[in-house]
């Protein structure tokens, strides 16, 4: 994929995201930080989906 094609491709992905945009990496850091903190100390074997609603649309 060329640089010229890439923006179009990214735009084509957005309709699949319920929130209409891609995530900022910081938005993934928050749940990661929680899992790693004492607040997540009794959580195991779980998968937390952080995808802006892709999997529910």
């Amino acid at each position: 994929m060329t640089d010229a094609q890439r923006p179009d491709y990214i735009e084509s992905l957005k309709p699949r995201v319920l929130l209409g945009r891609g995530a900022d990496p910081a938005e993934l850091a928050a749940p990661l930080g929680w899992l790693a903190s004492d607040g997540g100390s009794f959580v195991t074997g779980q998968t937390i989906v952080v995808d802006g609603g892709v999997t529910i649309t």
């Binding site: 994929m1 890439r6 491709y9 990214i10 992905l13 957005k14 699949r16 995201v17 891609g22 995530a23 900022d24 990496p25 938005e27 993934l28 850091a29 749940p31 990661l32 930080g33 899992l35 790693a36 903190s37 004492d38 997540g40 100390s41 959580v43 195991t44 074997g45 779980q46 998968t47 937390i48 989906v49 952080v50 995808d51 802006g52 609603g53 892709v54 999997t55």
Partner: protein, 222 residues
């Protein structure tokens, strides 16, 4: 799965490679050196072995030796031959604890080639379970040592006892700048769920390690 440890296992996160790359504040990393037996080596990619500089042969030999150490369970020996960033980032004890917990020995690895990547680095190609993988060997202090596939490290809360595992997540080939681990969600999410549950059961009962996963959607990466 590609995994590694920083620390002293009680809790584990499981997440994709790109996330790790973009989250320097989140500890860990991946020294993903597959365990197994190096059962042979040629010395070049696309050129006769006699043309390969001797130092590249040494890099292949070092990679093979590290694979042999993995296969024999000599994880302390592996730690000693990892690059400095690994040895500075994790103690030998923690390194051994992690690999004893999560690595299966005996996987067959064939060192299939090498090329000089820079003056002090060589890219070693390995055939592992029918697939090609690569490792970077660095020339440090007169020896070829293995570079981790990924390493991000920050000093964590000293009370944390956690291990992070980096999954080799699927990524559609055209997605260069953007990564979409949630795509296709139909196959990726169940894999992550299954892996997290399996590892939680295996590691939780044996080592008291907690394993969780993050399944991200589209996000911008570099």
């Amino acid at each position: 799965m590609c995994c590694w440890a920083n620390v002293q296992g009680r809790r584990a996160l499981l997440f994709g490679d790109e996330i790790i790359r973009r989250l320097p504040s989140v500890l860990l990393a991946a020294a993903c050196t597959s365990c197994g037996i190096a059962d042979g080596a040629s010395n070049s990619i696309g050129q006769a072995s006699s043309d390969v500089p001797e130092t590249l042969s040494a890099a292949v030999a070092a990679a093979q030796a590290n694979a042999d150490r993995f296969s024999s369970g000599d994880f302390a020996g592996v730690w000693e031959r990892m690059s400095r960033e690994v040895r500075d980032g994790i103690t030998r004890e923690d390194f051994v604890t992690f690999y004893e917990t999560c690595k299966k020995t005996g996987q067959k690895i064939r060192v299939a080639g090498v090329r000089l990547d820079a003056g002090d680095a060589a890219l070693v190609r390995m055939e592992v379970g029918g697939t090609d993988q690569s490792r970077v060997m660095l020339f440090e202090n007169g020896n070829w040592v293995m570079k981790p596939t990924r390493l991000i490290q920050v000093t964590p809360n000293p009370s944390w006892r956690q291990t992070l595992a980096a999954s080799a997540a699927m990524k559609p080939p055209p997605m260069i700048r953007w990564d979409g681990y949630a795509a296709p969600p139909s196959s990726l999410i169940p894999r992550k769920v299954g892996l997290a549950r399996d590892l939680a059961q295996q590691w939780g009962s044996r080592k008291g390690i907690r394993v969780n996963a993050i399944a991200p959607g589209f996000f911008e990466s570099q």
